[in-house]
Point group: C2
Chain length 414, copies 2
């Protein structure tokens, strides 16, 4: 893979100066580009007044992505177009979204994958393990939805800053690696009193700045280790640099930001990380409030669904309405579809194999539609009976939108 171009120092300094809601260099680049670029038509399924930046070329480190299937918001934020993920449960690697908080490290780190080192701390016998050591400890694979906290941001009316994702900052993939619990057992268990699992990314940070303002480090409650995986493979391929290779932690059911790429340190700690991205970043707060540690962190994902086809036009007669539905931290149990914007609902059918609690399900509803205009929406119900809500509260950074109403699409049947 080509070597990632280093970001100019100047942009790091801007980030270091503290821009609320735009912590990251990627977001800064995106914001800078948004200001310069002309705007083009709204994507399918978006209100026509929501503007998106003009299409950009794929950056070299992800030149292998399918250019026709993605929207390049910035070099660090690349969205899968709605309806381009197929109906085969698993999202292909070459269309899966990209969201890097800091540019990817040099591609040299994937030249000798097995040599990558992880420091495990806060256990009986702290130790530095290579990927090769981890591979000898165990093997598991798990399917899970990977979704950015900001997926759906474009559907908020208050125009929060940050990438205007609609539905394409999400995918369902299969990971292979060693369970964190197996590693912890091999190292004598978690130190008593450690309530959090803290993961640190191996991105290269510039000298002369407080690393806490830029380092990609997140804590989650220790309970999450039951399902967490230290993964070296995604969808049967060695984990690419773009998606966090050689080693990434996967915490099924948790928002993407917690699935730290290029993980170099896994620590069981009594307190949460004080890195800016964790301490105040990725928090749900009111539009007029500043981010703060006491606000909810973007941890567990809630139930969500959306329609993937048709998105614009359909031929009168039998129309197969398809989409994806997932329960986030819980399994998804059912999904309903409405063709009249939510006035009436019909149960959709799940399609294909069930890949487990953290995977999404494809769904289909066959509807006989006469010529006319239709508003297609879907709402999922998780295994605890929680129904996907009609709306999601406005919040400062535009996180966590799972309201079914805004995710609907207007379709003309002719």
């Amino acid at each position: 893979m080509p070597t990632e171009k280093r970001l100019p120092r100047r942009q790091f300094l801007v980030a270091g100066a503290g821009v609320v809601g735009a912590l990251t260099t990627g977001a800064l680049q995106s914001a800078a580009q948004d200001a310069k670029k002309p705007e083009v038509e709204a994507p399918v399924g978006k209100a026509p007044d929501v503007k998106v930046p003009e299409a950009k070329a794929l950056p070299p480190y992800v030149s292998w992505k399918r250019a026709d299937a993605v929207i390049v918001h910035s070099p660090e934020t690349i969205e899968m177009k709605r309806g381009y993920g197929g109906t085969s449960v698993i999202t292909p690697n070459d269309v899966l979204y990209i969201r890097n908080n800091v540019p990817a490290p040099d591609a040299a780190i994937v030249a000798d994958r097995d040599a990558w080192k992880l420091s495990v701390e806060g256990v009986g016998t702290p130790k530095v393990l290579t990927v090769s050591d981890l591979k000898a400890l165990g093997l598991e694979s798990i399917a899970s939805v990977l979704q950015c906290s900001g997926n759906g941001r474009a559907f908020f009316d208050h125009k929060p800053s940050g990438t205007k994702w609609t539905v394409g900052a999400a995918g369902c993939v299969v990971w292979s690696g060693v369970p964190v619990r197996v590693v912890v057992e091999a190292l004598g268990g978690i130190t008593p009193g450690a309530g959090f699992m803290t993961s640190t990314g191996g991105e290269t940070l510039p000298d002369g700045l407080d690393p806490k303002t830029l380092i990609v480090e997140r804590s989650v409650p220790t309970g999450a280790i039951q399902e967490a995986l230290l993964a070296w493979e995604m969808n049967g391929e060695p984990l690419s640099l773009a998606h966090g290779g050689p080693l990434r932690i996967v915490i099924p059911g948790y928002h993407g930001v917690n699935n730290i790429k290029y993980i170099k340190r896994l620590a069981f700690t009594p307190v949460e990380s004080d890195a800016k991205i964790h301490k105040t970043g990725y928090r749900l707060h009111a539009v007029d409030a500043k981010s703060a540690p006491e606000q909810p962190s973007m941890w567990e994902m809630p139930v969500k669904s959306w329609v993937t086809s048709p998105l614009k036009d359909a031929k009168t007669g039998r129309v197969q309405i398809t989409g994806v539905a997932f329960g986030g931290i819980n399994a998804v149990n059912a999904v309903e579809v409405s063709v009249d914007g939510g006035k009436t609902w019909a149960a959709a059918r799940f399609v294909g194999p069930d890949l487990g609690r953290y995977a999404w399900r494809q769904f289909v509803l066959a509807a006989d539609l006469k010529p006319g205009s239709y508003r297609l929406v879907s709402r999922a119900i998780d295994a605890k009976g929680t129904v996907q809500p009609e709306d999601f509260p406005t919040n400062g950074s535009g996180y966590g939108h799972n309201g079914w109403r805004a995710h609907g699409v207007d379709v003309t049947v002719v």
Copy 2:
């Protein structure tokens, strides 16, 4: 995709002259190349005296395959290297094997996928349906093992002609399409007395030859329609030309040759096809016998498994022995691993999600191995209790090898 080069007429004429055991132009090319090329070291897991042809470059129509992960036997026969399919259940598109009996049609046929036509015959209301029509009828997805009848041919001692596949003419993928039974129901059901479902491929055949000698057409018992799919998608991507796009029939549990690519005709017939590839091709027969219609056809696949890692060396201590196991027409229930060539066995553990009856399962056995030489073998047991056999009978064309002994690998632990 680039336009497929047309095969010179001369080669078709040779095939038309009737070469037993080398029905296909691909096999003819391969055989011609074998005669000229120097031979190189046997692949991992092969007896050292089994020669394979020198590595060739990827042909243009599959230039998107991972060159490092495949063995190009000929332009129409490309094998996945052992151990390159990952441990994430699904085989990535860019490593999945290729076996075309006749060169793929011109890429023009995937320029407007929805316009591809299928003639459905032997039903209440015979009809020509486009892919667009089929998409309106229904949607299902299914995971299944795709495996060439000749997979394992290299393990026979009598050196049958044909591609010397070891284990890499197999993969597990997810297909999306419309169930054949839904199409049949929509067209008034199967004509009484039709015991076979006959699929015809849309390959371009040269003028002036009896098409029956070259056409890719196979019959299967009508009962197979319960699970059969007319598929337009594989692993979330529109079905590539190389793998049979725009439309392929998928008959889960049946050998690859029955899963006709570029399907242009689906007929329910009282008798089996008289095309050469069906009438006498793909038959199990004694080495000194000629192929004949009364011999067993390569229809349902039996239970099978093999080790995928380690394949050569391993570090002493805990070694994770991995592999794949499937039941073919039945689900797979269990798999055992031996490190002493089959003297003693231990139950392996299935890894990751179960994608259903026709998918394979990844397995793992953690073994503590001292320095020394080991012969790793695996044997699977299907849902009916059938155990993968130690050997498989020698047969003229080298089909159907599922004997566990020959599939083993010699590993040195240091």
